[in-house]
């Protein structure tokens, strides 16, 4: 079996699991970290799908800037959802 396909399956499963964790987690800071892990898995997927241009913009935006923007916003509200 093709190694690329195996890696695609592995990293998309990791992405799926962390998406689920991010959606269900009530502690917002943890949810943001889960979301960043999911983005890292997606970055690998994009690289495996031969889209290095997208990887280069996806990593700084989805792992750096986007969680940072969310953390700044969470810092201005409550840390736990629904209270």
């Amino acid at each position: 079996m093709d190694v690329t396909l195996l890696l695609l399956a592995l990293f998309s499963t990791v992405g799926l699991v962390f998406t689920y964790l991010a959606v269900t987690e009530r502690d917002l800071v943890r949810a943001i970290i889960y979301s960043a892990v999911q983005s890292s898995a997606y970055a690998v997927l994009l690289y495996l799908l031969r889209a290095p241009d997208i990887v280069l913009v996806y990593i700084p935006v989805s792992v750096g800037l986007y969680p940072a923007a969310l953390l700044f916003l969470v810092g201005k509200t409550e840390k736990v959802d629904g209270e």
Binding site: Y20, D53, L56, V57, P60, V61, L65, A68, A69
Partner: protein
């Protein structure tokens, strides 16, 4: 019970999506055939034999983004420009980025970050100026450089912006410089056309069938791909300092923002 339903529905959606995109061929059989459009771009992206059609850049994505569909990218840049203007309008009157007595994170984190920042700058510049040769380009490089603004705010506290000499007005000036540079590159063919009477098109990078105008394609034997290197570098400035502005504003303490907004309301 609820968890079981969630797990089953997720598994079913994944299986369905995997089936439609692979076996059922909803996206075409991936990797087995190259579509005509893709073949056309691959043949034209760097092809000195077809001078009227090529973009003269071996990096097909940048060639598409800034040449084949350059006007699209121009409008994307305008959208980003408007978004930053909106942020600046909301935070109007806030000119100094400082506040709180924060000193940032521990010494270990600060030292590691100090080592990372020069690497980050080097990689960002390299992504920008090699954008026409290797994967990357202005937006990618700008996003990479913008990570520094987050590192400064989180690791060294908000006060570090003024310590390293970056403030909002400087960031706005640098971003505007990038946008003006893009405008100059875009309008140069039209100015050339107005001055000489020769045919030239907006955003033209290389010779066309009825126009001999072109930007230099190489300098001392190094490929610079016409307008692509200039547009990438200018976009790099515009995007990175656009993000810098947003993160400087976001990292401000609410009390300080409210103070300056209320100050405006009182007419002072």
């Amino acid at each position: 019970m609820r968890r079981v339903i969630v797990a089953v529905s997720i598994a079913a959606s994944v299986a369905l999506l995997a089936y439609t995109t692979t076996v059922a061929g909803a996206l075409g059989y991936l990797g087995l055939e190259t579509r005509t459009l893709a073949r056309m771009f691959l043949a034209l992206t760097y092809n000195p034999d077809l001078r009227e059609l090529t973009a003269m850049s071996p990096e097909a994505v940048t060639a598409i983004v800034w040449d084949f569909r350059g006007v699209d990218t121009l409008y994307e840049t305008v959208v980003f420009y408007m978004a930053i203007i909106a942020a600046l309008a909301i935070y109007r009157g806030v000119s100094r980025v400082s506040g709180g007595g924060g000193v940032g994170l521990s010494l270990i984190v600060r030292v590691v970050t100090k080592l990372l920042i020069p690497m980050n700058i080097a990689i960002a510049v390299s992504i920008a100026v090699h954008g026409h040769l290797t994967p990357g380009g202005g937006f990618q490089a700008g996003a990479t450089l913008a990570v520094i603004s987050v590192l400064l705010a989180v690791v060294y506290s908000v006060n570090s912006f003024s310590r390293v000499g970056v403030d909002i007005s400087k960031a706005v000036a640098l971003r505007s410089a990038g946008l003006i540079a893009i405008a100059i590159v875009v309008f140069t063919p039209l100015i050339y056309s107005a001055l000489t009477g020769a045919q030239a098109y907006l955003m033209q990078s290389y010779v066309k069938v009825d126009s001999g105008f072109y930007f230099p394609v190489d300098v001392f034997g190094q490929l610079i791909s016409g307008t692509l290197i200039w547009l990438n570098t200018a976009e790099f400035l515009a995007v990175s300092f656009g993000f810098f502005i947003v993160f400087m504003l976001l990292s401000l303490r609410e009390e300080i923002v409210k103070q300056s907004l209320l100050g405006e309301g009182r007419g002072s």
